[in-house]
């Protein structure tokens, strides 16, 4: 773990409180550090500053300096340097911390500014909160409570604008609710690099729209819904499904690629309604892909495995484990682990393989990276398999070596962890030659051909850790209970390990971590509880000679990009 260089600190004064902040921090963030809320709409920490909402107006002052002598001017009353207060209010978002900068956020004039802006934002707003999806997480609603007037002086007709524009396949726009903060426009331009949104018309009639002939269809379009401070941009999928205050939030990780974007899973009574990004400045900022938000749909997919099976017949877990163990103990075993399993599962898989003296392999999934938050490696946890020692070289997409071993009769039994062997290149004939123990979530050709099927949980139903492309170990938590019939992976693997003769076979996170810290050097000193919500970067020096498939993404630069290694 390396320490970042210490930034230059400057001391600023917020409402009389001194606070040290890195030089250049804007005053909204500086006030936040001082525990003072400066309300805002257009400002977003990960987008350029435009200063158009005017909600963050504050009083600003600078220490007085004699223009002739450059000496500080002291105030005899306080004995401190005099502060020259700027007569006009200043926007905090575009004011950067400089030594001695003072702001006041609690004066009558600041209150008046906020009430003025709130009133202006509401006069043409439809005030349809009772039917608005944003209610409950609407900045306009919250700040009208905190800083609004509480009554209306507006008796004119409100402006009329389009009510339900489909901006793209996933985003619906209500222009009347839009407060023209331009966050979505800036996001598309600056982060998604797909500059399709803009305003047409002018003044209060300004209307957000797509460029003619274009649509908001990029894989990041739903982030505009997240950052929309009002109910103008809504997710076509989530719209009208559930009030957000009923939903439980669980921290999770996006498993669609090795980026490992941090997420929040929103669920109620065992049903997931949406996934949104969770801020992690070292991984995904405040963004995630649209495709990653859809992953929860796999929980209730038709082909979800919900019954323990032995030879096609429903069975009990203990019988199935017993059967599987007998098959495995017969020898000539190959273990196909998964880059989609958690670190803990990979660790138990490795222990099973070690006990059986079986060969281990992983299936690689490599696609096109998008240079933002979708990396080329579509397995979320290949590095976890390296760290736990499940594998010691990078996986290949085709299990051709395993196929050859089967054909040569060297492998009689295959333990497949959530991987479809036929999708990885094994033929139906090859699958027929071996006994398969399948541990996984969804039905496929491999589970169909398996002697023993052990249904397990999706990432949303269990807890664990994943190691992303930066060798950052990150936690995910169970958002919903496992589907009836499916068994926690650790229970399945632990019991299997015990049955095949493993000496110590934990079946829960605590137990696995007790062994992980002792047996995996780079995890020494850690525990599941000690890993913070934004993850911990592991020492990756053991793997410096490997050439990973990922190209550059938002917060990741491939280390060995300069030296291509021959295949």
């Amino acid at each position: 773990m390396t320490q970042p260089a210490k930034p230059d600190l400057v001391t600023v004064n917020v409402d009389g409180r001194e606070v040290s902040v890195p030089k250049g921090t804007n005053m909204i963030e500086a006030a936040r550090l001082a525990g003072v809320d400066v309300p805002h709409y257009c400002y977003h920490p990960k987008l350029t500053v435009v200063g158009n909402c005017r909600m963050c107006l504050v009083e600003m002052g600078l220490p007085a300096v004699d223009p002739a002598t450059k000496q500080p001017v002291m105030d005899p009353a306080t004995g401190k340097q005099k502060i020259n207060w700027v007569p006009r209010p200043t926007i905090a978002c575009a004011t950067n911390a400089t030594p001695g900068l003072h702001i006041r956020t609690n004066t009558p004039s600041v209150k008046d500014c906020r009430e003025g802006v709130m009133e202006f934002l509401l006069i043409n707003h439809p005030l349809d909160c009772p039917i608005c999806d944003q209610a409950g997480e609407c900045r306009l609603q919250e700040q009208s409570m905190g800083y609004g007037r509480g009554y209306s002086r507006f008796i004119e007709h409100k402006n009329v604008k389009p009510k339900r524009t489909q901006l793209g396949p996933r985003v619906t726009l209500d222009d009347e609710r839009c407060i023209l903060c331009s966050r979505c426009i800036r996001f598309c331009k600056e982060v998604a690099k797909d500059d399709v949104l803009g305003f047409v018309d002018r003044g209060s009639y300004s209307t957000l729209t797509c460029y003619p002939g274009k649509e908001l269809a990029n894989n990041y379009s739903l982030n505009t819904v997240d950052i929309c401070p009002v109910g103008a941009l809504t997710s076509t999928d989530f719209r009208f499904k559930m009030r957000v205050w009923f939903l439980k939030q669980t921290n999770s990780i996006d498993t669609e690629s090795s980026v490992g974007a941090n997420t929040v899973v929103w669920s109620r009574e065992g049903v997931i309604y949406r996934i949104t990004p969770r801020r992690n400045d070292e991984v995904n900022d405040t963004w995630m892909t649209d495709s990653g938000r859809l992953l929860f749909k796999e929980v209730r997919q038709e082909n979800r495995l919900t019954a323990v099976q032995v030879d096609g017949q429903a069975s009990s877990l203990d019988i199935a484990i017993h059967t599987a163990a007998e098959l495995l103990k017969a020898g000539s075993v190959a273990v196909v682990g998964s880059g989609r399993s958690s670190v803990e599962e990979q660790f138990l898989t490795k222990k099973i393989a070690d006990t059986l003296k079986a060969s281990t392999q992983l299936v690689a999934r490599v696609g096109q990276g998008d240079k933002i938050l979708l990396s080329a490696d579509r397995n979320p946890n290949v590095r976890g398999a390296l760290v736990t020692g499940l594998i010691n070289r990078l996986p290949e997409a085709q299990l051709s070596q395993l196929g050859a071993a089967i054909d040569a009769g060297k492998v009689k039994t295959v333990l497949a962890i959530n991987e479809d062997l036929s999708a990885a290149g094994l033929t139906q004939a090859q699958l027929g030659k071996v006994a398969i123990v399948y541990v996984g979530t969804h039905a496929n050709a491999t589970s169909a051909a398996a002697r023993v099927v052990l249904p397990t949980l999706t990432v949303f139903e269990k807890s664990g850790t994943l190691v992303n492309q930066q060798f950052r170990i990150q936690k995910f938590h169970a958002a919903i209970p496992g589907l009836a019939g499916a068994v926690n992976d650790l229970v399945v693997l632990g019991k299997l390990l015990a049955k095949v003769g493993g000496s110590s076979a934990p079946t829960d996170l605590t137990g696995v971590w007790a062994q992980l810290v002792g047996e995996v050097a780079v995890l020494a000193g850690l525990s599941f509880a000690k890993i913070s919500d934004t993850g911990v970067v592991l020492n990756a020096s053991d793997f410096a000679n490997l050439v990973f498939p990922e190209g550059e993404t938002l917060h990741y630069k491939p280390a060995a990009a300069s030296a291509p290694v021959p295949a």
């Binding site: 500053v49 435009v50 200063g51 158009n52 909402c53 005017r54 909600m55 107006l57 006009r88 209010p89 926007i91 575009a94 008046d112 500014c113 003025g116 802006v117 009133e119 202006f120 934002l121 006069i123 043409n124 002086r153 507006f154 004119e156 007709h157 402006n159 407060i179 023209l180 803009g198 305003f199 018309d201 002018r202 003044g203 209060s204 009639y205 300004s206």
Partner: protein, 453 residues
Amino acid sequence: MPAPEQRRIIFKHIDEPGYTPDIDCYVRNGGYEVLKKSVQRKPEEIVDEVKKSGLRGRGGAGFPCGVKWSLLDRKSGKPIYLVVNADESEPGTFKDRYIIHQDPHQLIEGIMITCFANNVKQAYIYIRGEFPEGARILERAIAEARARNFAGPNILGTGYSCEIYVHRGAGAYICGEETGLIESLEGKRPYPRIKPPYFPAVLGLYMCPTIVNNVETLCHVKYIADVGGQAFSQIGTPNNTGTRIFCVSGHVKRPGYYEFETGKITLGQLLNEVCGGPLPGRKFKAVIPGGSSAKVLKFGERFKGKRKAGAEMVDYDWALEDVPMDFDSLAMIGSMGGSGGVIVMDDSVNMVDALANINAFYAHESCGQCTPCREGSLWMKKISNRMVHGDARTEDGALLKSVADQIAGRTICAFGEACSWPTQSFIQKFGDEFKAYPDAKKQPKRDGTLELV
């Protein structure tokens, strides 16, 4: 005291019989001699002359031109641009169009001198969309100047090169705001930039240091380069040097444009003597002295206070007619010299109607970028429109004032002030008329009054 004579420096040849906008006519009248002289001097000398002259910008804000130039970031290594603001859009202002239409080479010579003085290699004339003829005239004039080597590569054999381009706006008042203009010139919506950090002198056009000057200002620069800063500073009054062009419109006998030494003529002299006084049977009621965004002044008001005269402070006690027409005096009495557009209203005008007209303009022209101006200007329009065409309430005046107070000083650009000052001042000075408007509406209108909205 009789009104002084006009002193036409910028408008010397405007409306002169036989004077044409082509280069031959300009050269015949001594044109481009100043440029020939100037390119032989050191650029810094010309900048110094302009600083010495005390010239203040003629676009509206009256910012000292020499100071503006000295703020330029000359060390960045980036090119420096000159942008000529010919987006003359302030209601009541019509001075630049006469320069462009009748004496375009005066402007081009001023541009070239300014460019040479500031090492500018590219200048843009941003002309409002409603001046198609002006744009054609300028294009022609630039081609003529280029053909005679007054512009383009290797000007007059000095090795110095500079191109001028004409860029037409698309019809938006906000493009007159210098950073909005720059955005528009870059091909974007003319949303004014936040300052800090985007001061044009440092991060202007294409994020390069940029000078934005008004047409009239650059013509003054040409004159300063000719006579010298010292001589120029003797014209007018201290801190208000040179001449000013007043564009008088509204209820006077002889509306039009008049050029006087700044501060040497009072408002009363201008309106009563130069413009011939009120129309028969009418009385002056109000005047907006610097374009429609300036605060209105009421006839019958008196202004008292202390002002600087040389090094001393002296008392003043002025009737409105006594106020000298210069930047400082008009600012002292709570209005501004602005762009020189003097709009006169007589007793036939109902001030509510007049304000409704102004509010309609500003609501139409608000760019919509920042909240107070976007929502406030339209709200004010809706209120004043309702007063005129629907139900007026006695409390509407107070509401209008309160809305305006929520705009001024809180916006990205000066449009916030431009759209709220009329409302603030109309209600401050004619509040009774707003209160009485519901009743006044029931009275038949006087003959000959115009529908204002």
